[in-house]
């Protein structure tokens, strides 16, 4: 089974950290990508760089940022191969965002069931 571990953080938590702490955190995220079963992942730029597009009267409408104030912001993801949900949950529990008050959503990928 392949799972996307979707990382949601509280806005501003990174800003509250010092440069050394931030570097340590980043190293932790990179280290997780070397774990067996990790297939990939990405970290996103802050939500202030985001652009949203939707249809208004059938025409694409482009605006700055996400379209509502959100308590949690999607910040990145890992792609993880695991035997079952319990194993995926154990990996997700190691993602540092949890210590900073964030959450991780575990979503199985469509059509990726292992035989």
């Amino acid at each position: 089974m392949q799972y996307a571990l979707l990382i949601y953080s509280k806005p501003g938590t990174l800003d509250a950290l010092g440069p050394a702490e931030r570097e340590a955190l980043s190293a932790e995220y990179y280290a997780l990508r070397d774990e067996p079963g990790m297939l990939g992942g990405a970290a996103l730029q802050p939500v202030t760089t985001a652009t949203t597009i939707r249809l208004a009267d059938g025409k694409p409408l482009v605006t700055d940022g996400p379209f509502a104030d959100t308590k949690e912001v999607f910040g990145g993801y890992y792609l993880y191969e695991a035997d079952d949900l319990d194993q995926a949950t154990e990996m997700a529990a190691r993602i540092p965002v949890l210590r900073l008050g964030g959450t991780v959503e575990i979503r199985p990928l469509m059509g990726k069931a292992s035989s």
Partner: protein, 363 residues
């Protein structure tokens, strides 16, 4: 059962979801179990022996279930009560797949339409399959937290049957049966036995708890006709409690409290001490509220009210009714009536509402 699940997981994506996955899963598992029993002649001989010594056929069948496929039943229970499923889905799945109740029966017990219950079960089954919720007994380090979920599900089923007699009354019996199965499957864990003892004690008073022409009038513990209590169940529960000596988990402590409350006279000081121990263990304000009731009996209503007023439970009907009762005993009638009204606005069942209306009328 593990085999059945493997087949189910392998077949659903290709063939689409069967109309009732839970039923299908259980049926497949039973067929497999029967096949396996047929293959094993030594076992078959043992089964005949069991059938010969058991008082009747049904009992022999239950015995076969428990002795021949215990590990798989445990796996099934832990899958149905996996924390990744919503609580209502855990309850529905457990009743459907473990207890073997019909979807419509479960639906009517929880006052939802059969269609809603079917959707709830299908959604849960789909999640088990698509998110690969494992069909396994959790590892030793995860067992305590996972077992807590299973125990909570069984107790919730029991309470549904206990607090809403009539349409859901049989759920109490069903929960006791589930508890017994779990206790037999996990002989080293004291809490399943504690839960069984707790349920037996509450259930023993079921007949005496309600009265009136339609059986919807609540009778308080002190006013209950003790001759209508089930003495055999109380004795069995007490035996279970006495045999657990090394650990005191929350269910065992609650069982010990219920056991004391079934005694005459009740040792309220001891009840209060057990509630204090339970509050320490759980940190629950509801437990402190119940402890305050025992303190009211042991030390008087004034001391109890001081404790109750410090609890932040304004959304909880029993907080209001407890306050009301304490105020009434202190002779503060107006305040008591107001508190009974607040409780009435939040009360969940008809017997409770009737009891509160009676109190308001009396005051």
């Amino acid at each position: 059962m593990a085999e059945a699940f493997a087949i189910a997981a392998g077949r659903w994506p290709a063939e689409g979801m069967p109309a009732s996955p839970a039923a299908w899963l259980v049926t497949t598992a039973r067929h497999r179990a029967i096949d396996r029993l047929r293959r094993d002649r030594v076992l078959a001989a043992k089964l005949r022996l069991l059938a010969a010594t058991a008082p009747d056929g049904a009992e022999a069948e239950a015995e076969v279930d428990q002795t021949e496929i215990p590990d798989e039943r445990l796996e099934l229970i832990f899958t149905c009560c996996h924390p990744a499923l919503a609580a209502e889905a855990q309850v529905a799945l457990t009743l459907r797949a473990v207890a073997g109740l019909g979807t419509e029966e479960i639906a009517s017990s929880f006052l939802v339409s059969a269609e809603t219950m079917k959707r709830r079960l299908t959604r849960a089954k789909t999640k088990i399959r698509d998110a690969a919720i494992p069909f396994s007994v959790p590892s030793a380090d995860r067992l305590p937290e996972r077992l807590a979920v299973v125990l909570a599900v069984i107790y919730l089923i029991f309470n549904q049957g206990y607090s809403a007699p009539g349409q859901a009354g049989h759920l109490a019996t069903e929960a006791i049966r589930l508890g017994r199965v779990l206790a037999a499957l996990l002989p080293d864990e004291p809490e399943p036995r504690g839960l069984v003892a707790l349920m037996l004690l509450h259930d023993a008073r079921r007949q005496a708890r309600l009265s009136g022409p339609d059986g919807q009038d609540l009778v308080l513990l002190a006013d209950q006709d003790r001759s209508r209590w089930d003495g055999r169940q109380i004795a069995e529960a007490r035996e279970i409690i006495e045999r657990i000596v090394d650990t005191r988990g929350p269910y065992l402590i609650q069982a010990a409290i219920a056991s004391l409350q079934a005694a005459d006279p009740v040792d309220w000081r001891q009840v209060a001490a057990l509630y204090a121990e339970l509050a320490e263990l759980t940190g629950s304000p509801v437990v402190r509220l119940n402890g305050a009731v025992a303190i009211a009996e042991a030390d008087g209503p004034a001391k109890a009210l001081a404790i109750v007023d410090r609890l932040d439970l304004a959304g909880y009907p029993y907080w209001h009714s407890t306050r009301a009762e304490l105020l009434r005993r202190l002779g503060r009638a107006d305040e008591a009536r107001a508190a009974f009204r607040d409780a009435l606005a939040l009360a969940g069942t008809e017997p409770e509402r009737r009891f509160l209306r009676r109190r308001i009328a009396e005051g």
